[in-house]
């Protein structure tokens, strides 16, 4: 088998998608106008799939801080945290993150993906055992693989399945590492963290929570799901990202365990990659201050989330199980998802198109993520686009001209 042969199924999948009317599932933002608008295919488009939960990417304070750092410290660190890539800003951000989470220590990584790779590969190695929720993000799976620990999946959000698997481990359960997310990125549902924390305590295991989609979104102070449900004391490690609520790029881990400091020396993804640029660190520090002080952004985010979730529910779309800033429209097959996705783009609305196998149940998703930056009028326009498509699809189905009819009692 030639080295490129394994890529041929992907070429076939791309051709199949092109035949269904999708040139590429990536779009190009030809011009970015604000946290919630860009020009795509020459058309001014509302962005509803950016994870820009607090809408801080164009915040004047964040931009000013980034520009100042850029001028004073240059464009990049050109090195690893372990070598020449630790500037005063990186250390200050770690101090501020630790303080924000009420933890002893913090580590800044170059991306959220790298944060999971860096933490998991250092924490769980051959001989160790990891129990992870089946719907965990790819970065968690990849981090587990890099570490080489034994990896056992439990059913998504199923605490009794987790408990059963801990019981099967016997004495090894006390050294197991449990991995869950605060809010799951595809359907926007939360982990039953209170119950998971109780099981974790019962067996004496360790618990790591990825709060990538919940920092700035949940909790009185915006610290995430662990704060929201009052179990921060039971969580050993929190991992997160700067590329969602904080509007930049980068990742972090916080913990009360003094051993966190040692992770730096054991983590290849920390040691062998360049550190975030000074401007990124500067804008993230400012964004963290905003997250801490402007709770009205969180209020607005949830108002928008409730509005979109309710309106799409009224249109009889099948959605994720609970109201969340991630509003996932669940469709039984890619054809319907592509039909709607193209229609939304033509109406100036961008959402994420998610196709199997990236979806939790093998279906297809139109994944919307709302922002505090969306105005009520924008949310209305998003809903109008869905309404218009719903009507078009129903009419088309009635006369039997839907380009790709749903295979199994579709929801459109």
């Amino acid at each position: 088998m030639g080295i490129f042969d394994k890529l041929q199924p992907l070429a076939a999948a791309r051709r199949a998608l092109a035949e269904k009317g999708v040139k590429s599932i990536n779009v190009t933002m030809e011009e970015v106008l604000s946290p919630t608008e860009a020009v795509i295919n020459g058309r001014r488009t509302i962005l509803v799939g950016t994870n820009n939960y607090l809408g801080l990417t164009f915040d004047a304070g964040c931009i000013q801080a980034a520009c100042k750092a850029l001028q004073e410290q240059g464009t990049g660190t050109t090195g690893s945290r372990m070598a020449n890539g630790t500037f005063a800003g990186h250390v200050a951000l770690e101090r501020e993150l630790a303080e924000f989470f009420g933890c002893r220590g913090a580590i800044v990584f170059s991306t959220g993906y790298v944060a999971n790779l860096g933490m998991l590969s250092a924490l769980a190695q051959p001989g160790d055992v990891i129990l992870l929720d089946a719907d965990c993000h790819a970065s968690i799976y990849d981090g587990c693989r890099l570490g080489g620990a034994e990896v056992i999946r439990f059913r998504h959000n199923d605490v009794s399945d987790l408990e059963k698997r801990l019981r099967r481990l016997g004495d090894r359960a006390a050294n197991a590492l449990i991995l869950v997310e605060g809010i799951y990125s595809m359907l926007g549902d939360r982990a039953p963290l209170k119950e998971i924390a109780a099981v974790k305590r019962q067996y004496g295991a360790c618990l790591l929570v990825d709060e990538a989609h919940s920092v700035g979104v949940l909790g009185n102070r915006g610290r995430g799901l662990a704060e929201e449900v009052g179990v921060e004391e039971s969580v050993d490690f929190i991992v997160g990202t700067f590329s969602k609520s904080l509007g930049a790029i980068g990742g972090f881990a916080v913990s009360n365990h003094p051993e966190l400091e040692l992770i730096r020396y054991a983590s290849r993804p920390y040691i062998f990659t360049a550190s975030p640029s000074p401007s990124t660190i500067a804008s993230t520090r400012t964004a963290l201050q905003i997250l801490r002080t402007r709770s009205e952004l969180r209020t607005r985010l949830w108002e928008n989330a409730r509005r979109l979730y309710q309106r799409l529910s009224e249109l009889n779309f099948r959605l994720g199980p609970e109201v969340s800033p991630i509003v996932a429209v669940r469709l039984p097959n890619p054809e319907e998802a592509i039909f709607l996705w193209n229609g939304l783009l033509e109406r100036g609305v961008y959402v994420n198109l998610v196709l199997p196998p990236a979806t939790p149940d093998g279906g297809a998703l139109l994944r919307c993520s709302v922002s505090a930056g969306h105005t009520p009028e924008q949310v209305d326009r998003i809903c109008e686009a869905f309404t218009s498509l719903r009507e078009t699809a129903q009419t088309a189905q009635t006369i039997g001209t839907v380009t790709s009819p749903p295979a199994r009692g579709g929801s459109v």
Partner: protein, 83 residues
């Protein structure tokens, strides 16, 4: 401890629901090439087998499993280890 033959019998019974109509299942049957299981169906199969045998199958072991025999041998080993 459950023996190989018994494990194989149980495994074949589960796999019947994953096989194509009229397909004969043998120890040498390849789960991907012959049964055409994609990654989602493989995970569904794993969960069914875990429930049936009351064990957890580490996902690291899956790349080593190509045939029904590989799967049965892996299960025999896991059952012996007490997963």
């Amino acid at each position: 401890m459950t023996g190989y033959e018994e494990i194989l019998r149980e495994l074949l019974a589960i796999l019947k629901t994953f096989a194509k109509p009229g397909q004969t299942l043998q120890e040498e049957t390849d789960l991907v090439a012959d049964l055409g299981l994609d990654s989602l169906r493989v995970m569904k199969l794993v969960v069914e087998v875990e429930d049936r045998f009351d064990i957890s199958i580490p996902i690291n072991t899956l790349p080593n499993i190509r045939t029904i025999r590989d799967f049965a041998v892996q299960l025999e080993q896991l059952l012996g280890e007490g997963h």
